[in-house]
Amino acid sequence: MADHPYRDLPPEALWRRAVAERSPLHLEHLYRPRFPLGRETRIAAAGSCFAQHIGRQFKERGYAFLDAEPAPPLLEAGERGRFGYDMYSARYGNLYSARQLLQLVQRAQGTFTPLDEAWEEGGRWFDPFRPTIEPDGFASLEELRAVREHHLGAVRSLLEQADVFVFTFGLTEAWIDTRDGAVLPLCPGTAHGTFDPEQHAFHNFSWPEVMGDFEEFMRLAREVNPTMRFLVTVSPVPLTATASGQHVLTASVASKSILRAVCAELVARHEHVDYFPSYELVTSHPMRAMFFDPNLRTVAPRGVAHVMSTFFEAHEGTATAAPTPASTGRPAQVPVPHEDDVVCDEAILDTFGA
């Protein structure tokens, strides 16, 4: 028999042996870290709401997870998410798209100042770029500015400190201010703000746009911190609503496919980028949707646990329960919220949207 490239493939390269004949709970070598993450590695995280689980696990397992905007210690753990604390490495809320992330860094570095500075509603002020960070809004425009100034300083600090930046891609769909291209995390009028069809336009980011935005983000980050590496993932949580005109299922698949393809290309192009398959671990058909809640959208706690144990097993060698947190240089607070407490702005669309 003639030799050929498939003859000596490892088991994980063969569907029958890697998937069909195995329990979906015990797929091997699905994730081989490109670079190690130790407990001394300073990790920053951002992204869509699924990324909150990642940050929480890093903290609970005693990794040096950066928190540049720690919650006031007096604020109870169960209340922190409501004010945007303990979700990520700074109080930026959910960043669903690469363009949002890029513009956040540009705002922090002073190279982009959106025209839409604040929304006033009944004497309270909301930040268009994190409209749910203060449930009742800010008391004044001055207060909003002061808190935002501190926030953007915290983002700069993260860029300087992080050894690894973890980003979870969420969506390709966004609403943009047509005047300057500023990407809003939520469609104005859903949580706060007023929708103006003359000023707010729907945009569905293409593969080249997402790719270009993330590469530009990495370039800016590595200008500040040349050794920074990046771990990218795709949120397994489908869209809750689409403004694309498609069915929400096909819109979700299109969106996630673009993001997944961007991740593949990022890994292919850049040695300093790795991909973790949280998306596949939850959504791929061998998983039989077992990790979703009955709404087939939100990920059940057992799904989160499966994803995270796969991640940490790959880095630590064995599947482990979350150990006692260790202190870090800037200790992150360890909240103990219920899974229901994961703050997903996107869910607001369930109330206000289609």
């Binding site: 905007e69 720690p70 006031p72 210690p73 007096l74 604020l75 109870e76 209340e79 004010f83 203060e134 449930p135 009742d136 809004g137 800010f138 008391a139 207060e143 002061a146 808190v147 501190h150």
Partner: protein, 254 residues
Amino acid sequence: MPEVADLPDHAPVTITGNSHVIALARAERPAALTQALGEVLVYPWGNGRHESEVFTRREGDGVALTVPQYATATERHTGHPHLRPDRHWVVLGPGHAARTFRDPTWRTHAPAALRLPGVEPVSDGLLTALLERDQRGLRALYRDALAAGLQVVALSAPPPRRDHRAITDGTPAAVVAHLDTTAYRLWERWLAAEGVPLVPRPAGTADDEGFLLPELAARTTPRGTPDHHHANEAYGALALAELARTIGGAAPLG
């Protein structure tokens, strides 16, 4: 200001709360005060650290205190562990923001309104949430008392002291003053909405920044150790006079 209903003559005025009521217990009670208030019983129910959690529940025709220390003290002084409708209850609470301002939070954070450099700004909305969280237990008490039909009045705690340990340990005085002012404003608003009369802090007891005047500060605790937290009996006398004005509409006393 909600009206205070008249109680039968036999209903004694009973002042209780955390250790800040000791200043009132030690205060002289001039005849005019006794004439205005009638029989007055003052006792502290215990340490204020339990007051940020709900520590009451409706029981029978009164309000049960679920913190054993508070119930024991109440029984010792009134003959019953509950707050019952046979007394006119004056419960100290509003203005006691020490649980909040002595927290280490304020070494790394500060109210955004103060624009202090080098610390994380805390919005007015978040500050309100923190303070309302701390007020939860006492608010529940006042609500339970109203629901039980008790005559209840809220008595203000004294202003914070400039020599409080929180300040000497590093919390800026401006932060303490801001927290105290904000907490007091929340109390005023909440009590008015609920219909609970508030005995305000006596006029002229605080300096321009809101701190207790030094001559009204207790120097030592009952055990003789230095006291950086409480007011003294002179303040207590002024507070009693303010109480008489609120309850009885009497002319200034003392």
